[in-house]
């Protein structure tokens, strides 16, 4: 069945078209919901019947109640806004630096040989381990959080920009030279658009990592933000709020991904692979 699905996909498409009561579009939208909905239903069932102790895991209803109470007090909205602001600032700063480094190292062999190894090594340093130094360097205010988030976002953008630039079709570069393009034109008309699909891959990775770093940076003396909410709930074992935070992280991650894909589809309209 499984392999057939892959190899006979043309035929399958054909077949689906002929079953009007179960059209392809709906199937594609409904199926992804099956697993989460089933899981949540089972989870609620388990909680209600006491099979899943609320010590181990609060029930979906409890999580929903936590959502309402946090939302009603305005805390939730405020925390999300604060975190989103920090995330965006980090994305802007780290993304810009990563982008510029990626372009420069992609374009200049010398700069790449000088800095790439160093960057690759810095990349593997865990943010959590950096916190003491970050406090020494930046204190405990927003700068420290900005630094950590930027650092997290920087590397995926750098790596993918770099590879994007490196893999720009050499034939197109030669073409640009033949037609006497200036360096700026070559960058604007050939290198940048050529690297763009790869940069978007980096952006999507970065958006994922952004939230992960944020929670680490919001463990430094924060008094608002999603990370603060999660850490705080953790302190007082409010498992319902803990799970609520997890759900919100997952939704925000999904949202960021959807936005990135939209942006991608819109910017890369020339690329057949992004045309629906």
């Amino acid at each position: 069945m499984a392999l057939a699905d892959l190899t006979f996909s043309r035929t399958l498409k054909q077949t689906n078209k002929r079953i009007p009561s179960f059209p392809r579009l709906d199937r594609a939208h409904v199926l992804p919901l099956v697993v989460p909905v089933t899981l949540i239903a089972l989870w609620q069932f388990g909680s209600s019947t006491g099979f899943i102790s609320d010590r181990i895991m609060p029930s979906p209803v409890a999580v929903t109640q936590a959502f309402w109470s946090e939302a009603a007090s305005g805390d939730l909205g405020h925390n999300i806004l604060v975190s989103a602001g920090r995330a965006l600032a980090g994305l802007l700063v780290g993304g810009t630096i990563g982008f510029l480094l990626g372009i420069i190292n992609g374009v200049s062999k010398l700069s790449e040989q000088l800095t790439d190894t160093t960057l690759q090594m810095v990349r593997t340093i865990p943010h959590l381990a950096l916190i003491p130094l970050v406090i020494l360097w930046f204190g405990i205010g927003e700068e420290a959080k900005l630094f950590l988030t930027s650092l997290g976002v920087l590397f995926p953008i750098y790596l993918n920009t770099y590879h994007g630039v490196r893999n720009v079709d050499r034939d197109l570069l030669e073409m640009g030279r033949i037609y006497g393009m200036s360096r700026w034109s070559l960058f604007r008309k050939v290198i940048f658009p050529g690297a763009l699909p790869s940069i978007f891959v980096g952006l999507r990775y970065a958006l994922g990592i952004m939230w992960l770093t944020l929670i680490v940076s919001e463990s430094i003396a924060a008094s608002s933000g999603l990370g603060y909410m999660a850490n705080n709930a953790r302190e007082f074992m409010m498992t319902d709020v803990v799970v609520l935070a997890l759900v919100i992280y997952a939704l925000l991650g999904k949202l960021a991904d959807v936005i990135a894909r939209r942006l991608e589809g819109w910017t890369l309209s020339w690329n057949a692979a992004y045309q629906k």
Binding site: I56, I140, G141, S219, A221, S223, N232, F236, M237
Partner: protein
């Protein structure tokens, strides 16, 4: 010489007189006339607060008895500025209600959890000694309060050395039993610490902070019906539990003051003991980092 200080950066933890002062805006009011503003940073425990304080990212903040020892050993730029007293009753060793552990001696070979370098560390050392045991007779598990709470809940640890309000929260669960409190085992000294540079130049401000805190504390202790909901709103700890912590034996929010010789002696003894137990790496002289207001 620096220009006159215009901002005091205070680190706070949920609970205690500082939290109340923050909620009332008492310090802001007090210093408004001087043109000094207050910024607040929240910490979940003493060590990260002292980390920031020693690094010069904070000016002033409270912790328990053990964290300053580590900070001093790490040559953090901080000084003891004052004390406040909680209740030894609020620190305890907890076990499960149905646990076979009935006496301190039963802890032998069992898993005892506490956060290393916290005041619970000291409680554990002294409680075990009272029961004729030492730290090497139990299996130590190093867990921060939230993680220890989870581990305690699902039975991953046998006993938990912890302080208020976690003690009170855990006590409220019928499945929890208090093996022993720290009462009459440990003195409940806690400290206000200040960044070394800040203290050198702003002795006056520190004295005023203490004065204000003492007033806020006395007022609050006298009017628990108002204090409990206020504190509960800040910490997220239910009101009945908050009330319980405030009514522990010997507890007084207003007990704020300059560091006394008695406290210094207590702290020096603690430092010596921890050095002997090889918990801290070097011998400390507490008076080296005790701040005294300049006679002026």
């Amino acid at each position: 010489t620096r220009a006159a200080t215009t901002t005091i950066r205070i680190g706070w933890q949920k609970g205690g007189v500082l939290a109340l002062a923050k909620a009332e805006g008492a310090l802001e009011k007090r210093f408004a006339a001087k043109g000094v503003t207050i910024t607040w940073s929240e910490f979940s425990s003493g060590p990260p607060l002292l980390e920031a304080l020693g690094a010069g990212a904070l000016d002033f903040g409270p912790t328990g008895d053990v964290p300053p020892l580590f900070a001093q050993a790490a040559r953090g730029n901080l000084v003891y500025a004052g004390t406040y007293k909680g209740s030894s009753e609020g620190s305890a060793i907890l076990v499960k209600a149905d646990s076979p552990i009935k006496t301190i001696a039963d802890l032998r070979g069992k898993k005892l959890a506490f956060k290393r370098g916290s005041s619970a560390h000291n409680v554990a050392v002294k409680v075990l000694r009272k029961g004729g045991l030492s730290l090497t007779d139990v299996t130590l598990v190093d867990l921060a309060p939230p993680d220890a709470a989870a581990a305690f809940k699902n039975g991953s640890i046998d006993a938990w050395s912890i302080w208020d309000p976690y003690t009170a929260v855990a006590e409220a669960d019928p499945q929890t039993r208090v093996l022993t409190t720290a009462q009459s085992i440990v003195d409940s000294w806690s400290y206000f610490l200040a960044n070394g540079d800040f203290a050198k130049e702003n002795g006056g401000l520190i004295l005023e902070i203490f004065d204000e805190l003492a007033q806020v504390g006395k007022r609050a202790q006298a009017n628990l019906d108002k204090t409990v909901p206020a504190l509960s709103a800040i910490t997220g700890v239910p009101e009945d539990i908050t009330r319980k912590t405030l009514q522990r034996t010997g507890f007084s929010l207003g007990d704020v003051g300059m560091i006394s010789d008695q406290a210094i002696a207590y702290q020096q003894a603690l430092a010596d003991e921890f050095f002997e137990l090889k918990i801290i790496p070097k011998k400390l002289t507490i008076t080296d980092i005790v701040w005294r207001p300049k006679a002026s």
